[in-house]
Amino acid sequence: MNETLVDRNNITLRDRLKNMVASFGLPRLIIAGFLLLLFIAAPFVGADFWTQISNTVNRFSWNAIMVLAMVPMIHSGCGLNFGLPLGIISGLLGATLSIEFGFTGPLSFVMAILIATPFALVLGAAYGWLLNKIKGGEMMIATYVGFSSVSFMCMMWLLLPYHSPTMVWGFAGKGLRTTISLEGFYDKVLANFLQINIGNLSIPTGTLLFFALLAWLMWAFLHTKTGTAMTAVGSNPTFARAAGVNVDRMRLLSVVMSTWLAAIGILVYEQGFGFIQLYMAPFYMALPAVSAILIGGASVNKASIANVIIGTFLFQGIVTMTPTVMNSAIHMDMSEVIRVVASQGMILYALTRKTEGTK
């Protein structure tokens, strides 16, 4: 009996090791290696190492929540949320309305979240209802939901009766500007909280803590009865239905959660970046988040918090490091090219492997 037990443990250990290597994946290995190379090369081309680390950590803190927003929909089998712009728009509505209503300082951030929430819930529910109608083609439809909502809001930003002088065009006195400075509102409200500054190294502790809180909530949710049901729906919807789970409701919930996280994500991004970007800006926000979680090792229907953290760090690391290091090294602007190749290539890679995880 003891012998068999030992045997069993050995097998598990070996299998685990094998699984770990296999699940780490070639693309993730290559990107991690590339990033490491960039860090090593940085001092040699005259870039300060600690500044680079700070930049990477900062960008990580801005983007991580939008990557976290991918998790619920992946779990419920709705695939990657290419419709992220919809949530981002809810966040932008919250941000602009909070300023319009005259809130300033940290309070404006809290109000932005509070105002964005009902928009995210309603838009998310409608979006989820739509995705329940077209099971199997979620990602395609999601892409167009994102795109068309951005275009629609391009008109609305001009037409909605905003009056706050900090936001509208100076001459016309109406219509929102493309970029709105957050100075005096919630610029760096989270980042400055308990910020650590040692020489050139600066860590935005508050933002990281805020992300950690949301990530912990997500992790906890996935350990509850409802979270378990959501994962099962993504793993095998027929099984979940036969076990008495309302599949459509779980999917709807996941879409709402994802949309709300995207709204919060953009607010956090803005407080770090210092500006609200309107009009076409949300258009391009889904792809970096999608590729980040994929680089982190998630598949189309399996994702963990670790995938989010690793992926965001790797992706944002590449994005921050390539301009400085590559440009000084080869005196050519390669950063954009590499970023595009890495992000789109990663999505392409993951989508071609779509069938593997599914039954």
Binding site: T224, T226, T231, S235, N236, F239, G244, V245, G357, K359
Partner: protein
């Protein structure tokens, strides 16, 4: 019609196994020119596999080929692909139609064998661009339809045809091949109306007169008797009898179909439950499950018994549990312990302490990509809030990993599930062990009433025995009423108290499991639609 010289087809000691599972053993068959052979047997007897071998289907080669030899006109042949079989003059009409819906009957009949005319473009670019010769095509299609002896509209598009005509189009396509010597019909009458079926039988006769040999597979035994020259009955991969049709009867054939070579006397400890109270009563149940339509089932299930539901494939036995459990649309009235069960709602059934082990293990029964723990505990967790820890006054229901591991380990021990541990993925287990996980999942619900559908499908004999014993033990020790649906009559007779046979979407009869197999065999074919 029977000729004494070399037979058209001779199959000698054909053997075939799928991954060590012997499905055909020592099959010998001969067929003369113009002879009609009726092939029958229960599902899984090996009929289809035998025909696939004869027709050179890819699946045979992919699974390691076969042993034995096939002689066509005295010459040994071994078809690598269906094209070789076609070239040698063998035609096959499958159960599933392979027709192009938007094309007319004529176009389908002559697809890829169309007579062609050369034109200017094809002179330059080659024969792929030849024009079709529609006049000639119409003529040939007409000839094929005449040969068949049943009139169908050759200009009608397939998607506008009634289902029977599609079947005839397929047959006409085979007949339009000039070199056709042997035609295999795999359950062609299953989709036909009575009148069409009669027409088909007479067209088989006329084919036979023209010298075409026919292998006719059907569950309708009277058809076999009326049209065939000889009958071959298969069971468990053996040919159990090969007799002239004139010398046998429906009851004899059905006895051969279900009987065992080793006489099995059925269940040893049959429980008489006739005096027990009725646990579930089903009234006028219909279920719209594709391929397993239930038309009108009325059935009473007694408390504490194991009721078997048997019958041939496609007769509706699988529809009964799937319909009651709300997985397919259903109507009628079902009462459990006097309380009505709402149909079309899986959750309500589970709440009423019903549980179901699906026949579709991989599709419905398991979370293949999750751990065994999840598979075992999930339904109980969702339905009965078991294996949960409550925080904040029940607001947060947290997964209790420890309780889940304990229950999984318990069932792994009890059912002797072979795995590396409770954290292994369900996908990695063998079929038999996956089935045990499905049972564990149902047991963990601690139901009052359990449906088990095809629990032994696709698992080896040893695992079969364990699964059946586990079920019996569960019933006898916890007093849970069990309804087991299975295509294998012997298996039902082994563990059930009573067996209901479904035929044509209705209950054909209920007998104690100790009744002889022939009785059940007759019931199985009694109302076949």
């Amino acid at each position: 019609m029977l000729s004494d010289n070399t037979p058209l087809l001779e199959m000698r000691s054909i053997k075939k196994d799928f991954f060590g599972n012997q499905v055909l053993t020592d099959i010998n068959l001969t067929l003369a020119e113009g002879e009609v052979l009726g092939l029958c047997g229960e599902n899984g007897a090996g009929k289809s596999t035998l025909m696939k071998i004869l027709f050179g289907m890819d699946v045979i080669r992919e699974t390691g080929g076969y042993e034995g030899e096939i002689l066509l006109n005295g010459k040994p042949v071994r078809f690598a692909t269906p094209f070789d079989a076609l070239a040698a003059g063998i035609g096959m009409v499958h159960q599933e139609f392979s027709l192009i819906p938007g094309f007319t009957a004529t176009e389908n009949i002559l697809l890829n064998r169309e007579p062609k005319k050369r034109n200017v473009i094809s002179e330059v670019f080659g024969e792929r661009l030849d024009t079709l010769d529609y006049n000639e095509m119409t003529g040939r299609a007409e000839a094929a339809i005449d040969k068949m002896g049943f009139k169908i509209d050759k200009g009608m598009r397939i998607n506008e045809m009634p289902v029977g005509h599609k079947q005839f189009t397929e047959i006409a396509r085979e007949l339009s091949k000039d070199n056709l010597k042997l035609l295999i019909l795999d359950e062609p009458t299953a989709v036909l109306t009575e009148k069409e079926a009669d027409a088909l039988l007479s067209s088989i006769r006329s084919m036979s007169e023209k010298g075409i040999a026919v292998i006719f597979i059907t569950h309708r035994l009277h058809e076999i008797l009326s049209v065939c020259d000889k009958v071959v009955v298969m069971r468990d991969g053996y040919v159990v009898s090969d007799v002239p049709a004139a010398e046998t009867s429906v009851s004899e054939i059905s006895k051969w179909m279900v009987g065992r070579s080793v006489e099995n006397t059925g269940s040893i400890d049959i429980r008489d439950t006739s005096k027990s109270k009725t646990m579930m009563s089903i009234r006028n149940l219909w279920v719209d499950m594709p391929g397993e339509t239930v038309r009108n089932v009325t059935l009473d299930i007694k408390e504490g018994e194991i009721l078997g539901i048997g019958g041939l494939a496609g007769q509706g036995k699988l529809g009964i549990p799937n319909g009651i459990m709300g997985l397919y649309e259903a109507g009628g009235a079902v009462e459990l312990d006097g309380k009505p069960i709402p149909l079309n709602s899986p959750r309500k059934c589970l709440d009423a302490s019903l549980a179901f082990v699906s026949e579709d293990r991989r599709g419905v029964g398991l979370l293949l990509d999750e751990t065994l723990e999840w598979n075992v505990a999930f339904p109980a967790m969702q339905v009965q809030n078991k294996f949960l820890k409550r925080y904040l006054g029940g607001l947060v229901k947290w997964r209790d990993e420890k309780a889940i591991r304990e229950v999984t380990d318990r069932y792994i021990d009890e059912l002797a599930i072979k795995c590396t541990g409770s954290k292994q993925k369900a996908r990695e287990l063998s079929g038999g062990n996956q089935q045990k996980i499905c049972l564990a999942k149902a047991f963990a619900l601690e139901p009052k009433f359990l449906f088990v559908s095809e629990p032994t499908r696709g698992i080896d004999i040893g695992a079969k025995e364990l699964v059946l014993q586990a079920l019996k033990k569960f019933n006898r020790e916890s007093g849970v009423t069990v309804v087991m649906i299975s295509s294998e009559l012997e298996e039902l007779r082994q563990i059930c108290d009573r067996i209901a046979i479904v035929s044509g979407g209705r209950i054909a009869g209920i007998r104690p499991a100790s009744d002889p197999s022939e009785e059940f065999g007759l019931l199985m074919v009694s109302m076949v639609k």
